[in-house]
């Protein structure tokens, strides 16, 4: 309702799976363009569920969700793919397509958007090399270690330079050094204008980067300024 130009705006949103009780209740917040938020909360609190609402995988049971100033409920169905193409998602369980190579998995968003083949080729190989998978371009996901899968998933999420990047526990399976590289990548993307929401349990990450925190507990959300509390 209020001021325009919010990338994400939730108003009194509730969400449930099937007939079960609401997982999220009365969620109200908005994210400006170029912002960077952490999303925290105990296991099972609803972080993934909140992200599902943001990447348009689920409909709220009440309230209104707007993404890129489009109210999701009133946007015609055939305009939603355009919104989705501007969102990059790192799924918590990766969700790679098992029948495609690492390279083809990462190329997917470009291909769906109809990019030219030679640009695809170049960009994808470069990005995969950057995340340390230069030797695994043709590997099937099932032959990759979990950390390697996660990096492929991250590459797929960022390849199309999304305006909104949603990452669900993106460093859960990678080692410290790789984790730092990935977080650095997110920082750089954020600097050039990408809005980032990063769900994580890892306190060291939250303490290192001083971004505001969306905290979910008991189904409700609170926004906290992340003031340094003893981080390295």
């Amino acid at each position: 309702m209020a001021g325009a130009n919010h990338l994400v705006r939730f108003e009194n949103v509730g969400m449930r799976y099937g007939d079960e009780p609401e997982v999220l209740r009365d969620i109200t917040f908005h994210l400006g363009p170029g912002s960077y938020h952490f999303l925290t909360g105990p296991s099972g609190a609803g972080k993934t569920s909140l992200l599902r609402l943001m990447y348009l995988a689920h409909q709220p049971s009440r309230g209104s969700v707007s993404i890129f100033n489009h109210d999701v409920a009133s946007t015609p169905r055939d305009e939603l793919p355009d919104l989705r193409r501007r969102i990059g998602v790192v799924f918590q369980n990766f969700r790679l397509l098992d029948h495609l190579s690492a390279l083809d998995n990462v190329a997917l968003p470009l291909r769906i958007a109809g990019a030219r083949r030679d640009t695809i080729q170049e960009h994808v190989a470069e990005l995969l090399t950057w995340v340390g998978l230069g030797e695994y371009l043709d590997a099937q996901p099932r032959t990759l270690s979990d950390g390697e899968k996660q990096r492929v998933a991250i590459a797929r999420a960022v390849i199309s330079r999304p305006r909104l990047l949603l990452a669900d526990e993106p460093t859960g399976s990678v080692d410290g050094e790789q984790g730092s590289r990935i977080l650095h990548l997110f920082e750089e993307l954020n600097k050039i204008g990408t809005t980032v929401v990063l769900a994580t349990h890892d306190r060291t990450i939250i303490e290192r980067y001083k971004h505001p925190v969306l905290h979910i507990e008991q189904g409700t959300l609170s926004v906290r300024r992340n003031v340094a509390k003893g981080g390295k």
Binding site: A57, L100, A107, L137
Partner: protein, 295 residues
Amino acid sequence: MFARCVDLAPGWDGASRFLPWIIALMVYLSGLALSATMVLEQIIDRWRAGLQGSITVVVDPFVGSADAQTDARVEAALSVILATPGVLSATPMAKADVAGLVEPWLGKDLLSMDLPIPRLIDVALNRNGDADLAGLAERLGTAVPGSRIEDHKVWLQKVLRLARTSELIAILIVVLIALAAAATVVFATRTGLAVQRDVIEVLHLIGARDAYIARQFQGKAVFPALWGGTIGLLLAGITVAVLWLLARDLEGSLLPTVRLHPPFLAGLAALPLAGAAIASITARVTVMRFLARML
């Protein structure tokens, strides 16, 4: 390493590798049934030709009976014959003509002796060959003792009826198999897709349009259906050829030389196409329906 063209839908391997085989089997059975129908149809046609035209009813004279008495019996037979459905007309043959027919057997000398020779009635039947000859024979037997229909046509008709029934059954079976085949292709396609829901969902979430996703899966469904169908058709062709040679060896005279009519060939060729079409439509409907349930 990037040269190959990338389809977004997984191939029909693993769980769904057997879609083409199912389709092959169905096309095979349909092809057999269709061929059987065609052969039956042609046999019936040929046999029917044998029943068209006319039959002959014989009225035997009783020993020592007067001509007039026999004439009365011929009249009685005529009324019975004309009351039979499928009979166009019935003409008693002139005594002289009958004598001509009997002559080779009895000799002129005997005939000139004014013997009581049998009377023949020429009965014209309608073109369908569906006159109730068996019923006629029965009624003649009671109404005019000593009369009879020339034998083998009655038989031929019985056989023809049986063949017609068989043809009906074969057509029903073709229809049943076709329905079962369609159902199986639908089932197999949906089964193949069930495993790939996650792929569909990920493509959807990445921003692919419904029609685009459906097209990917449709393309993947058509090809195996087509080659499965073609294999099934080839096998059916081989089987029919073998059976046909076998049948011809055993019995030449009753089976007509079966011709491959163009419409029949077209029907056969359409089987794999039909399989592919069903698979494609099923894939589209299944994917679209699954997508429609998502935001």
